[in-house]
Symmetry: C2
Subunit: 348 residues, 2 copies
């Protein structure tokens, strides 16, 4: 297996990215290709005492920053580590991991790696780190959506939760502003019906914001706008609540003492909220796996993302998605033909 890594993407690149790759390399299962500034990558490898011979390094000069336009990946910065990594993936690699610019990674993946036949849009799927983890799709890439996308994402998300996170029969929820089937915009109303009708899906109905932390489903479909607000709000609320607790515990000697008694439990709670435990966010619907690691990834987060890419590849996720999407496409054709016929006979 060959996994390609964008050594220059993310807040802590290249040092933490390279360090994470070095840790993954120790496990020795996978050939790792590091893409980026060769000199800096080699320096980082030396710093963490890694054997440079374990890696292939592909040199690139350009770096796409968080401020760059998504389209720069195929226009202004075609020689960036992100663009080159995606091309290497297209030409023969098995998976690509990047902690870089999400928009650029999504745009570049769609244009260079391309989607599986029948998939209208690939989506960024992020695990919400609750005690019952929820795969949120889309978490920011597709702002304008159709009900059809939601159904496709539900299919792909269910496969992912089964194969990569080991959920036996994943339940799908539709994020909405109420539980009744007439809630939401026309897109949610149509999606509710389509999700109900789709064979092979376990549709759990509409899910409200207040239910998310309490495990309402395994896959949650929504548009990228709402998904992004949701994801970031959960992040902000966790940070805020832990901040309040910190203030509380550092107030005086008694509260400081009290902290000692609950320190381990608090750490445990904090760890539960650590999304990097689940690696990165897979882009689902592409011809080859692309994993978006968090922008602030440290070595451990990156190693987890690489491990996740390995599972993605070894479980044959992409082939399964292709198979299910082919089935889905056939059924749709049959349905449309039947509808045409019934429309014809109604016209007679």
């Amino acid at each position: 297996m060959e996994i390609i890594i964008d050594a220059m993407g993310g807040d802590n690149a290249p040092s933490e990215i390279v360090k994470g790759a070095a840790e993954a390399a120790k496990e020795g299962r996978t050939k790792l290709v590091l893409v980026g500034n060769k000199l800096r990558i080699e320096q980082c490898l030396h710093q963490c005492g890694a054997d440079t011979r374990l890696f292939e390094i592909v040199h690139t000069d350009q770096v796409i920053t968080m401020e760059d336009d998504p389209m720069s990946v195929v226009r202004g910065k075609k020689q960036s580590s992100l663009s080159e990594g995606l091309r290497l993936l297209k030409e023969g690699g098995d998976a690509f991991v990047s902690a870089g610019n999400t928009g650029a990674l999504h745009a570049g993946s769609s244009l260079i790696v391309r989607t599986v036949k029948g998939v209208q849009r690939s989506a960024i799927a992020t695990v919400l780190p609750f005690s019952r983890p929820i795969l949120l799709m889309d978490s920011g890439a597709n702002i304008n959506v159709t009900a059809e996308y939601f159904v496709q994402w539900a299919i792909m998300g269910s496969l992912y939760m089964k194969n990569v996170l080991g959920v036996e029969a994943p339940e799908v929820g539709l994020l909405n502003n109420g539980t009744e089937d007439h809630k939401g915009t026309q897109i949610q109303i149509d999606a509710y019906r389509k999700l109900t009708e789709e064979p092979g899906l376990r549709f759990a109905g509409n899910v409200e914001g207040k239910e998310l932390p309490f495990g309402p489903c395994d896959v949650l479909v929504t548009d990228g706008f709402t998904g992004n607000v949701t994801l970031k709000l959960i992040e902000g609320m966790s940070k805020f609540m832990f901040g309040l607790l910190k203030d509380m515990y550092t107030k005086n000697a008694v509260t400081k003492l009290s902290f000692l008694a609950t320190k381990n439990e608090l750490k445990q709670i904090k760890r539960e909220f650590d999304a990097s435990e689940y690696g990165g966010a897979p882009l689902l619907g592409l011809q080859k796996p692309v994993i978006k690691a968090h922008g602030s990834s440290d070595a451990r987060a990156l190693r987890n993302a690489i491990r996740q890419a390995e599972i993605f590849v070894s479980t044959g996720m992409t082939a399964q998605i292709a198979e299910r999407m082919a089935e889905y496409g056939e059924r749709k054709t049959v349905r449309t033909t039947a509808e045409d016929k019934s429309a014809e006979s109604a016209g007679n």
Copy 2:
């Protein structure tokens, strides 16, 4: 001042509603009209030892439940406490308070009380109870929106925060999936421009989900779908985090002891998250004030909602909204005429 109260709306109606009204009546500033089942209201008044002569009771038989369709307020259940309360408001009351069905209250208000001239849609404005409180508009009534609504809500929300919560120069934020001005759907992109151009507004730009708990603005405009998901997610996350803490503290003797040391601080944190401190959610843009109290309101929450209605009335909010909307309408007419002229000259 005459405030009309839907005695039958909410999970704890009529007992807690009547009790809250009785507490407000003790302050003696306002004439309170209780609408609902007369016998039950009188029983509740007796139970809390209130003087029935302090109230006017208007009898109605029907009650709109949380399950009823919003339009039932003017169709199936025209004789409900909610419908009758809104009619009494229209005919001469100064404000209406209800803890009942939000959708029915919003629909009924628009149809019976009607919006201020120039206001395209009234919005439900909810205070997010952070240390810098944020007025979230719309929090669930208007699912399909235009950029124009956002500007009108920003104007009305700013007036409310100034008059009712005493914020000197309120800042307005636009909920979005990024800070750059090109983020969001076309509605957000247009709203960003319009909000920047609108004189008299302090526009703070786009606000991301993760910023909300840290006080990015005083008024946050968004569509009712995203607003509803946001509001409920904050509710759910708070509940979840306090649940985790409770589990932690009840784990063993040491943690239980530790709880005693931080009990007061924890209570304080919990109180900060108590939205009922801010009364209910005002419906902004109507010809007379309507306050939606939380469905689970107890007597204290209802008394706060009544107090809020008093401030709404005494600060002359509705007249101020009408004045600002008239200005806004004039400016729009001037702008449109100027645009027409420049289009004409461009055509020559």
